[in-house]
Symmetry: none
DNA sequence: AAAATTACTATGATTTCCCATTGATTCCTA
DNA sequence: TAGGAATCAATGGGAAATCATAGTAATTTT
């Protein structure tokens, strides 16, 4: 495995398709903290391997960052590659990324249970907004997301306008 | 089958020959929000891979932007390539690109169903106008498109007049 | 034993599938 | 070439499957 960053992604070209987390969904959170993960997201998760999602408080935003286990594994490889195993940088990143992460497994109905800490961090009460970010997704308190969304809209449009779809994918992750 | 071996119609095997979305079609939207995607457009979509289209509210116009799944896969690679995983830019772009995109899969009759949000955004009621843009297409409320068309016609004529024919083989019309 | 976690069951609502009808175009044949 | 048959596309409605959600029971943990 190379030491060049988070690379080594799935060969998006032929054969294997890469499922993406798309769109937005609002689901209810019950008294026990249970929420249904949108069926479309569950379908995008790898069926083999570790069942469930990795959830952690976002480093910069008042929301929860979510990904599947494979993604975290690749992330881990990337961190090891960029820094050495026992460097300060590795320690810092690894601590903040992995230390606060929970593996939340699905119950038989496709729900996960958000701990009090997680819910408190994102101010989630009785509704949870799932926002697809491609290879990851976030969980927000709906109103909080609207504010965040409004604050980034102009920059997002500007940044997106500078982008072009690459004809030869396979670059990162 | 053929002996000629040339051309051979819309056979989008490995992306060599890219079929284009052309012309305009008006189809009905029923109470459930279902619309037939024009058969000509369906024929232009890759047959292997995800059966459906990616639909999102246009950033600048009151219409819906549509593309095939490969398109957003390439976008994904581009986003991960251009911006680092944890940068603000990445988050902003991913939020607006993926969060606002829906993967609408075809029902057995070749229809997709537009969510209330999508229809509301584009003011689509009982008729939907499909407008081919080559590699992508748009969905409009018919009257709204007429207004838009009138407003851009002058600019299009002007732009075409300044084009250099040889260097711009696929540019206009 | 009490609390907390996990599993099971049920229900209402939505979504998806299936079939049936229509209109239009293409193909065949006389 | 005109008529007619066959095919395909678009549309509509009802049936079936899926999903989100709530409540309750069972199990584990401490």
């Amino acid at each position: 495995m190379s030491a060049s960053g988070i690379g080594e992604g799935p060969k998006a070209q032929s054969g294997k398709r890469m499922p993406l987390f798309l769109s937005k969904y609002v689901n209810k959170v019950d008294k026990k903290g249970r929420v249904s993960v949108p069926a479309q997201y569950r379908a995008a998760l790898p069926k083999e391997g570790v069942p469930g999602v990795i959830v952690s408080p976002s480093l910069k935003l008042k929301c929860l960052d979510c990904a599947d286990y494979e993604f975290i594994e690749k992330l881990s490889s990337g961190i090891y590659g960029n820094f050495g195993l026992f460097t300060d940088q590795h320690n810092e990143v690894a601590t903040s990324v992995f230390g606060d992460s929970d593996l939340l497994q699905f119950d038989p109905n496709g729900r996960i249970t958000l701990s009090d800490d997680l819910r408190k961090y994102a101010n989630i009460d009785s509704n949870a907004l799932f926002v697809g970010l491609g290879k990851t997704f976030q969980i927000w308190e709906p109103k909080a997301f609207e504010l965040h969304r409004a604050s980034i809209r102009d920059q997002a449009i500007e940044a997106a306008a500078t982008m072009r779809p690459v004809e030869n994918p396979g670059g990162a992750l």
